[in-house]
């Protein structure tokens, strides 16, 4: 949970990120990634009695955001840490063990290749397929699209069908080295939200996979997917906490110093109320995300947390958007000019309602869990 130890960790990581990224403002994505990873943010620290490894990782992600790390980089780090590393660690796959060290050092970058042109929320409809190659290995064919970090990643966690029927056990997961012959990456897509991290497509043209590339057993893809999506929905939005706190601080400064009608702007009850609402959004989001981290630290299973993870994701995404809307109104025209120090990016928080499971589809899964006879 949130306490003084967590707050100290956030402060340490904030200081670290400021010095690690100092002078690297115009460096490329991998250089900045490596600089932040050098602090150990991707490594599972020896946990002490008071703070577990998931809470520590969340405090690190929040801290680098508070320190001014670009939102896109915070997002990419959180996405790999929570959406791939922790789930693979708990799944216990040999293919992962071989990579873990390089990933934790920041030398090997991963991406999560689930979504296809036809979508990501209906995984059983995917067309990418792996067929046995006769020697225990596999041949992979298909195309994954809208994959965060695909243009810069070294390995991909690829979900593919290993059976033709639409059954829950038709999918399997593979850790694929993207330098393998037959793998082709697209140019980065021209994103207009979270522009700090590239996104692209991966094409697999008869890619040979050794038997040990399979993660878990054949047919375990959906179970792994349940795990990765549960982790992601619970914790990915932790990336927004740091940037939100920075915006709140600077909005308070602005409302205190900006004079209008012969008084500080913050003397208006309407302005003060909006800023209180912004603080409420930060408070609620932090409380929810840290509570999920705490439950993972207590070894509650990802499967049993799926519904609460979905609720957390919806809530933080909504709060982040409403928070940003308030900040944009209070910054006035300066919200929309790049170098004013009050610029607000409304596309990033809006995108949060769409990635990692669109909020409306998550609502359906929550309602179904409550017992409503509703299908996707």
């Amino acid at each position: 949970m949130i306490g003084t130890v967590t707050d100290d960790l956030v402060a340490e990581w904030s200081e670290f990120s400021e010095s690690a990224l100092g002078g690297l403002g115009s460096a490329d994505f991998r250089t900045q990634w490596k600089a932040i990873a050098g602090g150990g943010i991707l490594r599972t620290a020896a946990s002490d009695a008071s703070v577990g490894p998931v809470t520590r990782a969340l405090a690190a992600v929040e801290g680098i955001g508070v320190g001014g790390t670009p939102a896109g980089l915070c997002y990419a780090l959180a996405s790999q840490r929570f959406g791939i590393q922790f789930p693979l660690q708990s799944f216990g796959a040999p293919a992962w063990t071989a990579l873990a060290d390089g990933v934790e050092r920041g030398d090997i970058l991963l991406c999560h290749a689930l979504t296809e042109e036809g979508g990501g929320s209906d995984p059983l409809s995917m067309t990418t397929r792996a067929v046995p190659s006769g020697d225990g290995g596999w041949r992979l064919n298909g195309r994954k699209a809208f994959v965060t970090a695909a243009p810069v990643a070294d390995h991909a966690l690829v979900f593919a069908r290993t059976a033709t029927e639409r059954t829950p056990f038709a999918l399997s997961a593979f850790l694929v080295d993207l330098s393998t012959s037959g793998v082709r990456r697209s140019d980065p897509f021209p994103k207009v939200a979270l522009t700090g991290v590239p996104m692209g497509a991966l094409d697999f043209d008869d890619v040979r996979l050794e038997p040990e590339r399979l993660v878990g057993q054949e047919g375990a893809g959906l179970a792994l997917l349940t795990t990765t999506t549960s982790w992601e929905r619970a914790l990915l939005l932790g990336y927004a906490l740091g940037p939100m706190r920075r915006v709140l601080d600077r909005t308070v400064d602005w409302a205190r110093s900006r004079r209008q009608f012969d008084r500080p702007m913050g003397g208006s009850h309407l302005v003060a109320g909006r800023i209180a609402d912004m603080a409420l959004a930060v408070h609620r989001s932090r409380t929810l995300v840290y509570a999920m981290a705490h439950r993972f630290d207590r070894s509650e299973s990802a499967r049993s947390l799926a519904s609460d993870a979905a609720l957390t994701k919806i809530s933080v995404a909504q709060d982040y958007l409403e928070f940003s809307r308030q900040a944009a109104m209070l910054g006035g025209v300066r919200s929309f000019i790049a170098d004013t120090g009050l610029t607000v990016d409304l596309a990033d928080p809006m995108a949060a309602s769409v990635y990692a499971g669109p909020n409306d589809l998550l609502r359906v899964s929550v309602a179904r869990e409550l017992g409503l006879p509703v299908q996707n």
Binding site: G92, T167, P168, G216, Q217, G219, A223, T226, R303, S304
Partner: protein
């Protein structure tokens, strides 16, 4: 949960909450995977309910077809998980 019959009861109760065909009875040898009886959500629910009532952790890596073919194969897994657990705690 002490027997494969208890497990059949558990599966029956979960299926009653879903849109599964109501006329399918669940016996130890009922083929669970052939008829589209179990969708992904139902499978995850069964795994979670087994954890809650059998007192064992159901590893994600065991959520595979071989274990869900019939209540009997699922019960065999529960017994294996229980044996592993008591071997560790002994």
């Amino acid at each position: 949960m002490n027997s494969v019959d208890d497990l059949c009861d558990l599966i029956r109760a979960i299926l009653a909450d879903t849109s599964a065909p109501a006329d399918v009875d669940i016996e130890p040898q009922t083929a669970l995977l052939v008829s589209g009886l179990l969708d992904s959500l139902t499978i995850m629910r069964i795994a979670t309910r087994i954890e809650e009532t059998a007192g064992v952790a159901f590893p994600e890596s065991e959520v595979v077809a071989a274990n869900f073919r019939t209540p009997q194969t699922l019960w065999a897994l529960v017994e294996t998980l229980r044996a592993e657990k008591s071997a560790v705690t002994r």
